[in-house]
């Protein structure tokens, strides 16, 4: 990990996103104090914390596997950090009750961890981290052990809690959808470095690297050559088809990668003209996958390149393998990267 400079705003929900091994957890553990820094420093406000042992940093951490102390009750778990801070018994009782209310676990204080479900353990872990009134809350893949539906509920709850308490939060995940849903800003990481740091919409719509484009959701990547510019809009030749782009940044004849998201392509109903400002592509359907709300089409461009297209379910239109169709897209939603880009 090298050359990482980050400034996280007060009360911000900040996410470190990347594939496993990208260094996101290492960075989080450096903030928590469980991984030593070789160089550089970490500050909270004006206070330098990287020289402090982890138990003096006053940081709340929620672990991937919850790390609930199995030998303590729910209340015992939540009171643990308060006892370490020599908080009086009466105050501990109130603060534990408040924390339980915060995570909606009233009445669970005397339960034992083995009696709780995964989601409840998660809430205990969050309450335990928040009750010490940390300056920063760290969450290390907190939802990865929950089932899919609960994960969606919990992430909303975490986001809502964070907003209400206005606590500076650093969240680590490998799930791009989760990152998009909860974060104010996201740092996309790869190989120990930050690839892109921006708000979710910008990262999804205007990725600055091919890696970011491919990691965030599904995208079509086509290799082509910048076509001669004959007065009209810039074009990239892919096989025998031409893709219109709004923002080129490459010279004529140069080989480039063209990225377009499946949902940026729309199927044009037969006989209709392309709406103003939209470019058009002719293609043949080679595969249809119906997954409910969406149909995923594989379409082949003249010249053999295959694109993925996402179409909202519509009983009126019937896509069949072998059909010829016209696709329209906004050239502004096509991103071009130079060939050498990873």
């Amino acid at each position: 990990m090298r050359n990482i400079t980050l400034q996280i705003e007060d009360g911000e929900f900040f996410t470190l996103l990347g594939p496993s091994g990208c260094g996101k957890t290492t960075l989080l553990r450096m903030i928590a104090g469980f991984t030593e820094l070789e160089a550089g420093e970490i500050r909270i406000g004006d206070r330098r914390i990287d020289i402090l042992p982890p138990h003096r940093r006053n940081i709340g951490m929620v672990f991937q596997n919850y790390a609930i102390f199995p030998n303590l009750t729910v209340a015992g778990n939540i009171a643990y950090g308060l006892k370490a801070r020599k908080v009086g018994n009466a105050e501990i009782a109130t603060r534990v009750a408040d924390a339980l209310a915060l995570v909606r676990l009233h009445g669970y204080s005397e339960r034992w961890p083995h009696q709780l479900s995964g989601g409840q353990l998660q809430r205990v872990a969050i309450a335990r981290a928040l009750v010490i009134r940390p300056e920063v809350l760290l969450l290390d893949e907190p939802l990865s052990n929950l089932d899919a539906r609960l994960r969606v509920d919990m992430r909303g709850e975490i986001r809502e809690l964070q907003q209400r308490l206005n606590i500076t939060t650093v969240y680590v995940t490998h799930d791009q959808e989760e990152a998009l849903a909860v974060s104010r800003r996201i740092a996309v990481m790869q190989a120990g470095q930050i690839e892109q740091l921006d708000v979710p919409e910008a990262i999804y719509r205007r990725p600055t690297s091919l890696f970011a484009a491919q990691f965030m959701g599904t995208t079509n990547v086509l290799t082509g050559t910048v076509a001669p510019r004959a007065g009209g809009p810039a074009r990239v030749r892919v096989g025998s088809a031409e893709v219109e782009v709004a923002d080129l940044g490459a010279r004529e004849g140069e080989t480039v990668r063209v990225c377009i998201r499946p949902e940026a392509l729309q199927v044009l109903a037969a006989g209709q003209a392309a709406p103003a400002g939209m470019a058009k592509l002719q293609a043949t359907i080679v595969g249809v996958e119906f997954i409910g709300a969406l149909s995923r089409l594989d379409v082949e461009l003249p010249g053999g390149s295959v694109l993925k297209v996402a179409v909202l379910d519509n009983p009126a239109t019937l896509a069949r393998s072998g059909d010829s169709i016209a696709l329209v897209y906004d050239p502004a939603r096509v991103i071009v990267f130079p060939q050498g880009a990873s």
Binding site: M61, A67, A84
Partner: protein, 553 residues
């Protein structure tokens, strides 16, 4: 990303590791160094020489002691494996009546003192043995059990759990779908066992077999009772060192070094190539029991129960005999408490010593072993590996040799311990340290490190986290390590026999001396008391020990 070892996070393991290492250096490595140097120095201790080795190895008697030790060890390893593997298969995969009790009884020989078993064999089948005399009276000839046959028989019956337990675990850990895959590909049941099951369990079998080999090489008590004139390394080392006529530390050193080289090489093979390959497949559920027909079921049941009970018969016999009347060495078939009366008249102090030493050693082994176990699981560096090797070394060092080293190291100079009780407790602590280390690390593997990190990040220092959170969570493993230490120290003979002095005799010494004299009655009473002393804590902590027994082998 490389996490450099610096600063507060690593201070705690560093301090604890250093303390453990100093302890082991002082009371394990330094004594062993003394044994080594005694073997390579001239009698006046000034010059290096290999003459001692040449002298000892030139004598047929000592060459024979090496050959005998190896022969007995290999024979016992083979017989143990041959009886234990089918038993393991029966226990793990067949439907046998009374299986729970069977498993419980099968593990018992691990904690029962093997030399008591040897003594029982002597009482029953020895020259003046009860069974021998009975048979002779009927004119049935009966061969001698002294030397190889008796020793191998005792080893086989007392050490078979070393092979049995890992093999049962391996058989239960086999993912049944691997066998099913073989069968669905057209392999018969027998062929599947030969080509799939057996290769998977072989590392576990061999790993256990090598532990048996190490035990036989080191064992002092069994050959001391049964070898008669046959020279055995551990016994001859002891005799050379104690030397009733002329003590010969350099010759004892030579034999000691040879013995350590033997045991250490076996241990290295066991750890390097086998122990790691255990549990090659990790099944979540044990494979279902194989249904077998009535005839085979009877065979399997008889075989399993016969072996398990046969191994316990000697101990049972000792207890029964202890309530009979002895006149000198001659037994009379009448109930009597005379043996116990005699024993308690003379052996109250030794009994108290035994209980005290076992307790002290168990506590010391926990205090040193638990931090070592924690370091081995939680940190990784070259120092960790060194500590691991050092803390495993006691497995490879015969009690006699360690004791000789301790005597040489601490009989003069700044720290004089020879002749006192402390040196005995230190020897026991060092010898049994692997139990607490391994029991601790076994349970730590099940405690997620993030539990500790959670505690630290909530504001509790690493040391307090270890003491207040981790140690309570580890309690099951710690207690079972301590119980095993306690029990094996109570029946320890090999280092005690070198280290004890007048007031610090233990029960095992009382028994050992009674064996050499004519006090058979006192010996059986002492042996029965030893059985009780080892059995009671084991039965009390039975559930715990069952859970961790395997990790401590």
């Amino acid at each position: 990303m490389r996490a450099l070892a610096i600063a507060p996070l690593t201070r705690l393991p560093l301090a604890m590791g250093a303390a453990a290492f100093i302890f082991l250096s002082l009371f394990l490595l330094y004594p062993l160094w003394n044994v080594l140097s005694a073997s390579v120095l001239t009698p006046d201790g000034t010059a290096f020489t290999l003459g001692n080795y040449a002298r000892v190895l030139s004598r047929n008697f000592y060459r024979a002691s090496i050959a005998n030790t190896l022969l007995i060890g290999l024979l016992a390893t083979i017989t143990t494996t041959l009886i234990a593997v089918p038993l393991a298969f029966a226990i793990a995969r067949l439907d046998i009546p009374g299986k729970l009790l069977l498993i419980g009884l099968a593990a018992l020989p691990l904690v029962l003192p093997s030399f008591v078993g040897a003594y029982a064999l002597l009482l029953l089948f020895g020259r003046a043995g009860i069974v021998t005399q009975f048979l002779n009276a009927w004119g049935v000839p009966f061969g001698s059990i002294y030397g190889v046959p008796g020793i191998v028989a005792v080893y086989t019956l007392t050490l078979y759990p070393y092979v049995l337990l890992p093999t049962v675990a391996a058989l239960k850990a086999i993912d049944i779908s691997v066998e099913e895959a073989a069968q669905s590909l057209g392999s018969s049941t027998a062929r599947t066992f030969r080509t799939v099951t057996l290769p998977i369990i072989i590392p576990s079998v061999l790993s256990g077999a090598l532990l048996v080999l190490i035990e036989t090489l080191e064992n002092f008590g069994v050959p001391a009772v049964l070898a008669e004139d046959m020279p055995i390394l551990s016994v001859e080392t002891y005799k050379l060192f104690i030397g009733e006529t002329a003590a010969n530390p350099s010759a004892a050193g030579v034999l000691g070094v040879l013995l350590i080289v033997l045991t250490a090489s076996v241990l290295i093979i066991q750890r390097r190539y086998l122990a790691r390959r255990r549990f090659a497949t990790g099944a979540r559920v044990a494979p279902p029991l194989i249904r077998i027909g009535g005839g085979w079921r009877i065979v399997a049941t008889t075989y399993s129960w016969a072996i398990v009970l046969l191994a316990l018969v000697p101990f049972f016999a000792i207890v029964v005999l202890s309530f009979m009347e002895f006149r000198g060495p001659v037994l009379h078939a009448a109930f009597s408490l005379q043996n116990y009366a005699e024993l308690f008249a003379t052996a109250q102090r030794p009994l108290a010593n035994t209980l005290l030493f076992a307790t002290l050693a168990a506590c010391a082994a926990a205090i040193i072993g638990v931090p070592v176990g924690w370091i081995l699981v939680r940190t990784r560096s070259a120092w960790t590996s060194l500590l691991d090797v050092t803390a495993t070394l006691p497995f490879a060092v015969a009690g006699t040799i360690l004791a000789i080293g301790l005597v040489i190291a601490f009989n003069s100079g700044g720290l004089v311990l020879t002749g006192g009780w402390l040196i005995m407790v230190l020897a026991y602590t060092v010898r049994k340290l692997p139990f607490t280390v391994r029991a601790s690390s076994a349970i730590l593997h099940q405690i997620d490190p993030s539990i500790e990190e959670a505690s630290i990040s909530l504001g509790v220092s690493p040391l307090r986290t270890l003491l207040r959170l981790v140690v309570p969570l580890m309690l099951g493993g710690i207690v079972s390590g301590m119980v095993l230490t306690w029990v094996t120290v109570a029946s320890e003979l090999s280092s005690t026999v070198v280290l004890y002095s007048g007031p610090w005799r233990t029960l095992t010494i009382v028994m050992f001396q009674a064996l050499e004299g004519t006090g058979a009655g006192v010996a059986v009473a002492a042996a029965s008391l030893l059985i009780a002393v080892t059995l009671i804590p084991v039965l009390a902590a039975y559930q715990l020990l069952r859970r961790y027994e395997l990790s401590m082998l």
